[in-house]
Symmetry: D2
Subunit: 342 residues, 4 copies
């Protein structure tokens, strides 16, 4: 029959989760909760057969749901996920996991104690593009990673409860977490607020890893154009990932730098210290499956086999640790924050 | 007859300066100096009639030069410019003006004392693109500026004597200086080094101005692709300036944000605080003249009329002040540096 | 209650039509017919409440349908539309209207005789982009149209019953019909077949109008990349319409040519006869509504008010007349075909 | 000492040829002729040491020139080249070779009789991009070529003595001649004139080769944007060559079509006859040398070794044969013209 799902929150992202669960053969969408009648009406038109409720507690307590999907604002995540885990439900939760590290830690421990799957919807980790980049890094083709530089800006969706960093940067931080599988040592961040908002609508963050690997994230809600651009440089090859491209999203450049022995000319003023390697470029074919579909299947597999998801609660907690440190750095106008991720 | 020019340094940028002086009717190119025979040989092929010397002092002392153009590495700028000004020559000097604020200040004072024109080759200030953006800001069409966000990355030209910030960021900082004509209050910066270099090859800087105007600069020598992208947002319109576009480099978007009275719905979780305005986009026609040509003409005018150049020594000094503060911030891993520009 | 619709054909395009009818408040989707069980199963998942039948005749005869939507292969259009009109149903039919002019004419006459709405799904006519271009031409801003040049190529969807011209060119021909509202005088066409097919998979057509207006269409099923590019030149301004752009699909260039009196220099060999005007470019804001939604609403309005649709049967017949003439020209290796559209 | 060159015509293209000859070590630029004083003045500024004359006959007769470069309007090509060959000079001549096939044939025969090198400046044949495409075709990687589709449009340079086909299409036809090295069997062409000109400013041509290989060329002087796009499809891989790209001009797509045995489903209306192969894309590194430089070197080699140039007089004649046939087809409104190239 398949695992039964209840979705809490049918706003911007919830409908995508609901549709993918609905279309997946191994899953059953049984309930949707939203406080707003207009959203429930919309859900009713698309899913006339399932239970539609206002109170999220109904979804959490119902025997009709094996798993609960939480697609509500960040500040509500902790309480909903906690209640669901306590009821013995598996939980798939929108990013970021929680509004604080303390909350994240409690959920992670609770899930382990209850032996339930807690997975964070770090959607990009399940895209063909990011999985291909992961594979290229794993295989050694890129060499040692030198930098990760992401620009994620557009006009849109000021949120009432978080700043742009909590809204957009989880995508980048979760990708970094998945790609590099190493712990950053610290970060510095800055940002600015406009239009009388209390929350930053433009922010920048630099995250330092061992061995000079550096990651930079530029997020904004007030860009006139939508940019989704990542540069990932290794000492062998370099990657450009442009998510706005309809195809060829990932391009691998056989370009790089070779150090030149420059001893004898040290005093020469225009001396170039390095040589450039400019080779061909390749755009590998990417898996075509929709990321959410692949994510739902991974969730189903993890529940079935008791496996740890690639974006489990601990990954979600690491993302929150970085966001929390970035928020402190912004308040301290760029002051360095050491990181000691779990 | 026109002003006579001697060019010191015939490496990467010097030939462009020399060619533009040569082709300008009001100017005469009379001398070129470079320590390297190979470079002099190249100059001889192109300019068989002019004096070619190894020693820059010959250019500075020669009665054949009214003005000296300095296109040598940064660390040599101060001594060469000082000697030229002391000889009563007008000076056009490559960016950045000097390697330190102290040096810059001395040159500025010396030029004023000697009543000679000291102009910094902040080339971008003379492009049709930047002049159009300036005009759009001046006219009020953009509204109050909210942010300036520049990405200037490519593979190339590691320099032996400076880091990437001193090499590439002067372009952006001089554009900011020209566009906003206001003093920043502080900055934070970060960066990373690779390939065993002592100098950063990738760096990020956030500069804070009064009234929440924020500027962000991302520079790199180790990007597989060349990006020259600036976003400039105002509270009325927003600009995208892509210098790699063959035409339509500057696009003006009638896009922005209007705050919405949201009082009664404060508890509603998905409430959007703002409304977006998505109007048309316009790419204004830009002046087609080569920037260096316009710059040379401006230099000639300033010398002739005793006017202060748009990119005078003080503008050059302000750029160096920001670079110096950024270098300190990088060393202190992002610590905020207050700025009090002259 | 709204008009009730039955959709015949739930293959590639039918689901889009069905979805838009389903989501439109003034319409009711009541039946879907498809000969293939797999397609019906898919329809059942999405629309569990409606009647799903194998035999299209059931849709045509059912009292549950006021209007019949035909989304089947071209060769079946005539018989299905004829049967539906004879049953007194309104008909919305996928492009091209029929496989021959004779069939088209019969349907047009039948619809008039039965006083029923016959509308062809020339989808592009209902896009914000084409409607904006129409407005720009109507207003005189573009001046007299000089040319229309469309490239519509991609890898894909060889069809068993028609060549690439019948598959893709109806889009362009219907756009031309809508934009220029004048009759072409003739055409020439060419094409080629590959992979052992009987049908052209790449084809080119030039259509001549009075006053030197010329239209050119380039269609292909064997391009490695998807291109949807139209250039439309007037003697005042010129338009580039790139349908693959996520935004700014339509760009209006203040560019053109002014003739120069060149009498006295006639013998001069390099003399340029013309002057170019290079002004600004503007990308107007387009209506955001999905084209099919707008089309369905237009169909509903026409049925309700007895109006003639913008893409009525006669427009569909004109498109078929051009396709038929092009097929003859291809067979005659480019020979000119005179056109006398009704 | 190197071969000595005189350049006739210092208009639009002549300066590029002169500069490349000047900078080539094995060549000497000794004379330039142009009827216009303003052009000679410009040449004098750049090349103060060489002979500048008004009369082209001076260049042709001078003992200072071993080779004559002809960069004048098409209608003057025949007489100038004939005179130069008769004087025993080698000739490098701008495309198209002549204004008629008869003229071309005479020049080809004269060059052979005089044993002199006659080479046509089919510049694109010497670009890194076209040479790479040639290599890809030669190696079999692309498979059997199916089509060649070129769009070459921009705003500009109406010429007084020829139409757009004679101006722009030689680029494409010479590339086809180089790439496919087989004889076309016929062609059809069409075009239109505007702005009161006698000459077409927009034209289209379809050229048929054996084995269903088809070439299509779209040229225009009245496009608001510059497009230089070629699609070249083989039955194994397909190429996109975009000459406006600053890098990655040539992209090789592992995309194509495989025929599917479809026998049993013939009656099924939506049946797809083919399968698509969507693999990776590769952009090979291209030779960076300027095309004209490579061309000049090739000319020098051919003169020295008595080799036949890759773009010899016969290649030039084949291009003129196609242009002449296209002109006839345009006059006959698309009528097919058989081709029997030498």
């Amino acid at each position: 029959m398949g695992l039964s799902f209840g979705v809490i929150g049918y706003g911007y992202w919830g409908p995508n989760l609901a549709r993918n669960i609905f279309e997946e053969d191994e899953a059953r969408l049984t309930m949707i909760a939203d406080q707003r009648q207009a959203r429930l009406k919309l859900a009713a038109k698309r899913f006339p057969h399932i239970d539609l409720v206002e109170d999220s507690a109904d979804v959490i307590r119902s025997p009709k749901t094996d798993a609960v999907v939480i697609a509500t604002p960040v500040k509500t995540h902790y309480a909903l996920a906690k209640a669901a885990l306590e009821q013995g439900k598996h939980v798939l939760i929108e990013k970021p996991l929680t509004a604080s590290v303390a909350e994240a830690e409690e959920l992670v421990n609770l899930a382990e104690q209850k032996n339930r799957t807690l997975m964070v919807d770090h959607t990009f980790v399940y895209t063909g593009a990011v999985r291909m980049i992961h594979k290229l890094l794993e295989s050694g083709e890129i060499g040692n990673p030198l930098y990760f530089d992401s620009m994620r800006v557009n006009l849109g969706l000021f949120q009432s409860d978080v700043n742009v960093l909590w809204d957009l940067a989880p995508h980048d931080v979760s990708i970094m977490d998945f790609l590099f599988q190493r712990s950053p040592v610290g970060l510095t961040a800055s940002g600015s607020t406009h239009f009388g908002s209390r929350h930053e609508n433009i922010a920048f963050m630099t995250v330092f890893y061992p061995d000079h690997l550096v990651a930079h994230i530029n997020v904004s809600w007030i860009s006139p154009v939508k940019i989704r651009l990542m540069l990932i440089g290794g000492d062998k090859k370099m990657i450009v990932y442009d998510d706005t491209e309809p195809s060829e999203k990932v391009k691998v450049y056989d370009r790089g730098v070779d150090m030149k022995n420059n001893g004898q000319n040290e005093e020469s003023v225009y001396d170039i210290l390095v040589q450039y390697r400019i080779g061909s470029m390749q755009a590998p074919r990417l898996e075509a499956m929709e990321a959410l579909r692949m994510e739902i299947r991974h969730f189903l597999d993890c529940v079935k086999n008791g496996d740890r998801p690639q974006t489990d609660g601990r990954a979600g907690m690491r993302v929150v640790q970085i966001l929390e440190a970035a928020a402190r750095s912004i308040k301290q106008r760029g002051a360095f924050q050491e990181l000691n991720l779990e």
